[in-house]
C-alpha cells in the first residue's frame, strides 16, 4: 500500500518545479511591503518598541540586505517598496537620530522594557544575524561594536535552549556588576572574535539525595564505588568566585574522596585493596550513627609499574583560550612529564579548532619535543568536525602492546564535539574501547560551559576518572600525585553491597553516591559495569543509620512486621564487596560483618565533616540545626597533619560558604 504512495511522492517531487527566482523575489518584496505598511499603520498607536520601525537608517540597511540576498532586481523592487515609507517617519526621528547616541537610548530602554520588547531591539542592531542559520558566536562577533553590557544581555536571547538561556540571564543580572568588571578575552588577531567571559551553559547530573530506607522493607543497599574528585574542585571554584555552587554540582562522595586518609593498607599477597568498617556517632544527630566504610588500594612499587601509553585528546576550540584552560592544561602536562620514564610514550591529538595528531607517539623522556608540541597548541577557530575521539583511540591502539597500560585523557572545557555527536553512540564507542583495555579519563577545565554530566558519563563508561582542574595546585594533585593511581587499575568493577540487620538498625541512608546506585541483583552480575580502583586510591562511603529504639527514627515500626531473629548479636549489618582483578572476567567476593567499634581516628572524622559540609551545600534536610559553624569546628579538630594544606583549604571553603549563606 505505502509503495503506491512512495512512488507517487517520488514522481510528484520530480514533477514539482522550482519556483521562479524573479517571481520569488517579487513575492517576497510584496510581502515585505505589506508588512512594512502594516507596521506603519500600527506604530502610531504603539510605543512599546520605542523606535519607529522604518526610517532612513533601516532603509539603507534593508537595501544592503536586499543586495546581498536576492540580487539587484529584488533589491530595487524592495527599495521602491520601502521608498514609499522611508519618507514618512523622518520627522519623528528627531533627536534620537541626530543625537548620535542611539546606543545609550536603547540601553536605557532595554533595561526598562520587558524582555520580549528587548528582542526586536537587539535584532535590529544585528543585521547579519538574520541569515538562515545563526550561530551564537557570530552574534557576539557582530555585537563587538556594542557595549559589553549589551553583549551580556543579548547573549541568551537567541538561544533556543531556553532553560540554559534563562538561567544564564538571571545569573547574569544577579552578578552583572561583577561581570561588567571582568575583561573580555580577545582571540588572536586574525578573526577578532570576542568571547563572552562566561556564557553559562553548564550542566550537572540532576540526582536527588538518596532517600531514607526502612531496614525491614529494604535491608540491602548496593552501589558502585566512585573515585572521581571533580565535584570538590567545582565547588571550590564556585566558592572562591563568591558564589554558592549549584546544588547538583555537589556530590558528597566526591567531596569526601578528594582527601587522603590514613586508612589501613592491604596486606601483601591478599586482595588488592582493604576495606575497613567502623561505626561512629553522627555529628549532626546524636541519636543516629554513621557507618564508615573505608577502602584503601594497594600501592605497587613505582619501579614495577608497566609501561604507560598516554594519548592526550585536547579540546582546542576557541573557548579554551582563557588563561585557566589551555595554558593551565599545558602547565599541568609539563608538571606530569617528570613522573614518566623512558618506557612511557606520549601522543597528542587535538579536536575542535586545530584538528588532528599534533604529536606522534614520543618517548616521555623527550621532554623538549613534547613541550614544543604543547606550545604549538593554540585555541581558535570553529569546530572542525574532526573525528577526534576515534583518532585518539586509533593512535592509542597503535601504541598499545601486551603488558602495557594505555589511556586516552580527554581535556576539555565542555565541548564534547569529539566526532560522535550522538551521546548513545559516543557511550557505546567508549564502552567498546574499554573492552579492548584502553580507558578514558576526562579532565575538565574552566567554568561556564562545563558539561559535568557528560564528563561523568564518559569517565564512568571509559573506566576512567573525571577530574576538574581549576588551579595549578589542583593540576599538581590530579596529574602528579595521583597520576599513578588514576592510570594503573588494581581492581575493576568494584561494587559494594551492605545488608543491614533489622534487629539492630531501623532505618538507614546512604550519603552520596546518588549517581552510582546499582540494583540489588546487579551486585552478583559480573556483566554490570562499576567503578575501578587505581593504585593507592582511597574510597570512603558513609551510611547514616538509626538504631532500633532510637528517638531519631522517622518512620513508625510496622505492627505486623515480621521481625527476623538473627543469632549474630552485635552485628549492625553485613558488608559485601565484589571486584575483578584487572583483565579478569569473573569477580571475587570479600565479606565482613559491620560491628560497633571504637572511636574513629581524626582522619575519618574529617571525612564526616566533609560529608556534612557537602550535604549543607546540597541543602539536605537530614542535618537539622547542624550548620557550617559546626562543620568548621569538626573539620578543624580533625585536620590532622595535613602536609599539603588540602584540609586547611577545605575549612577555608566552609567559611566562605558560611558567609555566602548569610
Amino acid at each position: 500500500m505505502s509503495d503506491d504512495l512512495d512512488e507517487l511522492k517520488a514522481a510528484l517531487s520530480a514533477a514539482t518545479p522550482a519556483p521562479d527566482a524573479a517571481k520569488k523575489a517579487a513575492d517576497i518584496a510584496l510581502a515585505r511591503k505589506n508588512f512594512a505598511e502594516l507596521q506603519e499603520s500600527r506604530s502610531g498607536a504603539r510605543h512599546t518598541s520605542e523606535r519607529p520601525k522604518t526610517g532612513f537608517f533601516r532603509g539603507v540597511k534593508n537595501m544592503i540586505a536586499g543586495l546581498n540576498m536576492r540580487g539587484a532586481l529584488a533589491a530595487s523592487t524592495a527599495l521602491v517598496a520601502l521608498g514609499l515609507v522611508v519618507v514618512l517617519p523622518l520627522g519623528e526621528l528627531g533627536p534620537r537620530f541626530y543625537g548620535g547616541s542611539d546606543w545609550q537610548t536603547i540601553e536605557r530602554e532595554t533595561q526598562v522594557s520587558e524582555r520580549e520588547s528587548v528582542l526586536p531591539e537587539l535584532e535590529e542592531r544585528v543585521p547579519s544575524l538574520r541569515s538562515e542559520s545563526l550561530a551564537v558566536d557570530e552574534f557576539v562577533t557582530a555585537e563587538q561594536a556594542g557595549t559589553a553590557q549589551s553583549v551580556l544581555q543579548g547573549g541568551g536571547l537567541y538561544s533556543t535552549n531556553n532553560e540554559a538561556a534563562k538561567r544564564s540571564l538571571s545569573d547574569r543580572s544577579r552578578m552583572s556588576g561583577q561581570l561588567a568588571a571582568e575583561p573580555l578575552i580577545l582571540a588572536p588577531a586574525p578573526d577578532q572574535v570576542v568571547i563572552l567571559p562566561e556564557s553559562n551553559t553548564e550542566t550537572f547530573p540532576d540526582a536527588d539525595a538518596n532517600p531514607l530506607k526502612v531496614t525491614a522493607e529494604e535491608p540491602v543497599s548496593t552501589f558502585s564505588i566512585d573515585v572521581d574528585t571533580a565535584s570538590y574542585a567545582v565547588v571550590r571554584s564556585s566558592l572562591t568566585a563568591g558564589q554558592l555552587p549549584p546544588k547538583e554540582a555537589v556530590r558528597v562522595e566526591e567531596m569526601v574522596n578528594y582527601f587522603t586518609y590514613d586508612y589501613a593498607a592491604p596486606e601483601a599477597g591478599g586482595a588488592p585493596f582493604r576495606p575497613t568498617v567502623s561505626v561512629t556517632d553522627t555529628p549532626w544527630n546524636s541519636n543516629t550513627q554513621l557507618v564508615h566504610i573505608a577502602i584503601q588500594g594497594e600501592k605497587p612499587a613505582i619501579e614495577d609499574r608497566p609501561p604507560l601509553n598516554l594519548v592526550f585528546l585536547i579540546d582546542t576550540s576557541g573557548s579554551m583560550n582563557a588563561p585557566n584552560k589551555l595554558p593551565l592544561l599545558k602547565l599541568s602536562l609539563s608538571l606530569m612529564l617528570p613522573q614518566l620514564t623512558d618506557q612511557d610514550q606520549v601522543a597528542i591529538v587535538t579536536y575542535a579548532g586545530s584538528a588532528g595528531q599534533v604529536l606522534e607517539p614520543t618517548q616521555a623522556t623527550e621532554r623538549e619535543t613534547i613541550l614544543a608540541a604543547l606550545d604549538r597548541l593554540h585555541a581558535g577557530g570553529g569546530t572542525a568536525g574532526q573525528a577526534g575521539l576515534q583518532q585518539a583511540y586509533a593512535v592509542a591502539d597503535g601504541m598499545a602492546e601486551d603488558g602495557e597500560v594505555t589511556r586516552v585523557i580527554l581535556a576539555t572545557d565542555g565541548d564534547f564535539n569529539v566526532g560522535l555527536s550522538d551521546p548513545e553512540a559516543l557511550k557505546d564507542f567508549i564502552e567498546d574501547k574499554r573492552e579492548t583495555g584502553t580507558y578514558l579519563s576526562v579532565m575538565g577545565f574552566g567554568r561556564g560551559n562545563l558539561d559535568d554530566a557528560t564528563m561523568q558519563a564518559l569517565a564512568q563508561n571509559g573506566n576512567g576518572q573525571a577530574s576538574y582542574i581549576d588551579t595549578l595546585s589542583e593540576a599538581q594533585k590530579v596529574m602528579v600525585d595521583q597520576v599513578s593511581g588514576a592510570l594503573f587499575p588494581i581492581a575493576n568493577d568494584v561494587k559494594i553491597q551492605v545488608e543491614f540487620n533489622p534487629a539492630q538498625i531501623a532505618e538507614y541512608r546512604l550519603i552520596g553516591y546518588e549517581t552510582r546506585t546499582l540494583r540489588r541483583e546487579d551486585f552478583n552480575n559480573d556483566r554490570v559495569d562499576a567503578g575501578d580502583i587505581g593504585a593507592g586510591h582511597q574510597i570512603t562511603a558513609l551510611y547514616e543509620v538509626t538504631p532500633v529504639g532510637s528517638p531519631a527514627r522517622q518512620t513508625d515500626p510496622l505492627r505486623y512486621g515480621e521481625q527476623t531473629v538473627v543469632s549474630t548479636e552485635g552485628e549492625l549489618g553485613f558488608l559485601k564487596l565484589r571486584y575483578k582483578k584487572p583483565g579478569a572476567e569473573t569477580s571475587e567476593l570479600i565479606e565482613m560483618p559491620i560491628v560497633e567499634d571504637g572511636p574513629l581516628g581524626s582522619d575519618a572524622r574529617f571525612a564526616t565533616a566533609m560529608a556534612g559540609f557537602a550535604q549543607l551545600l546540597r541543602g539536605e534536610t537530614y542535618l537539622g540545626e547542624w550548620s557550617y559553624a559546626e562543620a568548621i569546628t569538626l573539620a578543624n579538630a580533625a585536620r590532622g597533619e595535613d602536609p599539603f594544606g588540602y584540609r586547611a583549604e577545605a575549612v577555608q571553603l566552609m567559611r566562605l560558604a558560611q558567609s555566602l549563606k548569610r
Partner: protein
C-alpha cells in the same frame, strides 16, 4: 555550537514588528509554500498566483499566529485556505461565465496544454476530488496525518480515510491508463 533561530521565535519577533525576522521567515519557507501551492493546484501558473496571494496576505495574517502551533502547520493552513478561496472565486467565475461557453472552452483547452506539460501523476491528482487532493498534497509533503488533520480542520481518521480513497482512485486511474 551553531543554532538556528526557530520559526516560532522568528514569527513572534515578526508579530512584534521585526521586519528582518519576517523576511527571514518568508525566505525560509517560500519554496515550501510554492511546492504545496503547486500540488494543491496542479499547475505552475496557478501555483504562482496562489503563492503571491499568500505572500501578500501573510503580514496581516501573521497576527493570528499563536505560539502553541508549529509555525509550518499554521503556514500550510494559510496556504490551504488561500487555495480554497481561489477555488471558490474560480467557481463563481465559471457560474458567471455560463453562456460564455466559448470562453470557457478556450480556457479549459489552455489548461489542457499546461497539463500535458506535467507528468501523469499530477494530472491524476487534478482528477481527484479537491478534498482528496488537498490531503494527499499535504501528506506527500511529509506532513504527518495528525498535522494534516489540524491544517484541514478535520479529524485524523478522516485524513487516513481520504488517503486510502485517494490511493484507490489513483490505482484505478493507473489501471485504466495501463490498458490503453
Amino acid at each position: 555550537m551553531r543554532m538556528e533561530v526557530s520559526d516560532e521565535s522568528l514569527a513572534k519577533a515578526a508579530t512584534a514588528g521585526d521586519e528582518n525576522a519576517f523576511s527571514t521567515l518568508l525566505e525560509r519557507h517560500y519554496n515550501g509554500v510554492f511546492r504545496l501551492a503547486f500540488r494543491l493546484t496542479g499547475a505552475r501558473a496557478e501555483a504562482e498566483d496562489l503563492t503571491q496571494d499568500v505572500c501578500a496576505a501573510l503580514p496581516a495574517k501573521l497576527s493570528g499566529f499563536r505560539a502553541e502551533a508549529r509555525f509550518t502547520t499554521w503556514l500550510w493552513r494559510v496556504v490551504v485556505n488561500a487555495a480554497h478561496d481561489r477555488r471558490r472565486r474560480a467557481a463563481t467565475r465559471v457560474k458567471h461565465a455560463e453562456g460564455w461557453g466559448d470562453w470557457e472552452v478556450a480556457r479549459r483547452a489552455a489548461d489542457k496544454e499546461t497539463e500535458e506539460a506535467v507528468d501523469w501523476l499530477t494530472q491524476s491528482m487534478r482528477a481527484l476530488h479537491e478534498d482528496l487532493r488537498d490531503t494527499l498534497a499535504l501528506v506527500l509533503d511529509d506532513v504527518s496525518h495528525a498535522d494534516a488533520a489540524k491544517i484541514l480542520g478535520v479529524s485524523p481518521g478522516t485524513v487516513s480515510w481520504r488517503i486510502s480513497e485517494a490511493k484507490k482512485h489513483l490505482r484505478a486511474l493507473r489501471e485504466k491508463e495501463d490498458q490503453l
